[in-house]
């Protein structure tokens, strides 16, 4: 299993949830991949690219084949595609790689220039996912039913998380996230990582760690599309707008 790679130009995206009733990521991600191939970037999908837990079969059937066709073109253009598994697509891990388009890994240690980075979905640091896996799974499936009835309920949930995080006494890390994710990033940074990139929480942002390293979350393409750009060791979080890209770092 490959977990260590070298790439001078890499973009990281996460949480597309293709096949989820709420997700409209496909129409944004396809032009993004074409742009990335043109600019000679490798691409890493940092977990939950495809939806299994809350999938709508018709959406999966409609969205996934075209997505894989574009990834195939990306690969044929000589660029690498990496897929880090998340909690919504963990069941797919066995055959994603067999499709021959991408390299699948549980996490990636990336060397770019003089910078050493860790890319990981981050669900194993989610206290709810780790402590109550059955309840987490059941609620995820239940939420999937609500999303089929009214997909916009998801936006309400994300706003609630941001509100709750703002009310928290210790405002550490990225707005909307529980502090456990920044703590996990700090732990990793002590092992010699200059930047740590998670997904999972759907809250994009950048936060400095006390070790001098940085912690980034690439957010979710279900909401506002963001990507982490790694170029010769320089790392930044950028909002994807086809005509204009706004850097947040």
């Amino acid at each position: 299993m490959i977990t260590s790679i070298t790439s001078e130009k890499l973009v990281v995206i996460s949480d597309l949830h293709l096949g989820n009733p709420f997700s409209n990521a496909k129409k944004k991600v396809i032009p993004f991949l074409k742009w990335a191939a043109q600019e000679k970037f490798d691409v890493c999908i940092n977990g939950d690219g495809l939806e299994i837990a809350q999938a709508s079969f018709s959406k999966v059937a409609f969205e996934v084949p075209e997505f894989f066709r574009v990834l195939g073109e990306f690969r044929r253009a000589g660029r690498e595609v990496y897929y880090v598994t998340g909690n919504h697509d963990i069941a797919l891990e066995h055959f994603l790689e067999d499709w021959g388009v991408m390299k699948v890994a549980p996490f990636l240690n990336v060397t770019s220039g003089n910078t050493r980075l860790r890319i990981e979905h981050g669900h194993i640091y989610d206290p709810f996912f780790v402590k109550f896996p059955v309840l987490y799974d059941s609620l995820t499936h239940l939420a999937g039913l609500f999303l089929k009835v009214h997909p916009e309920l998801y936006r309400l949930w994300i706003s609630f998380e941001r509100f709750a995080s703002n009310r928290r006494a210790k405002k550490t890390g990225i707005v909307g996230e529980r502090p456990h994710f920044k703590e996990a990033a700090l732990e990793l940074s002590r092992r010699g990582f200059d930047a740590i990139i998670f997904g999972h929480t759907h809250h994009p942002g950048v936060s400095e760690l006390e070790t001098g390293s940085i912690y980034l979350n690439s957010g979710s393409w279900m909401l506002t599309p963001h990507y982490v750009k790694i170029e010769h060791g320089n790392v930044s979080l950028v909002e994807w707008k086809p005509e204009k890209r706004v850097s947040m770092l």
């Binding site: 977990t3 050493r116 703590e183 700090l186 990793l188 002590r190 010699g192 990582f193």
Partner: protein, 152 residues
Amino acid sequence: MVLKPKTRFEHECLEDFEDGECVFEEGDTGRDLYIVQSGEVAIIKKTSTAVIEMAVFKKGDFFGDMALLQSLPRYASAYAKGKTKLLILKPAGFLLKIRRDPTFAFEMLQQLSYRVKMSNDRLLHVVEKHRLPVDEVQSILKILGGGGDAKP
């Protein structure tokens, strides 16, 4: 529960080393595990005929695992190459570290597996180069494979 950094990192510390400074000597009885945070560390083994640089560990690599996992004296010496910063894990904190950072265990297994393969490859290379007798090679492989008394 999120632990305060002071409590969280109670069983580990950071230490700086100058170029050429000794991290530990062959035969020392320390049990700490080292992770290279920056710089490099050379592992040096003295034999009856030569001094051999067995490995150079870079940022993110770990060493000192034999002493930690098997309670053996240090097999070789370790020296800093250039300015080096090491994260030092105390034996008492090792399992806590794995609980907080589970991928560390995965990476350790991965590196150990890689090192076993490298040792086997080196052995086979020597066997082929010097055309060693088959029974001698078999007995070495039996020891390396953990047969008989070689198991912990």
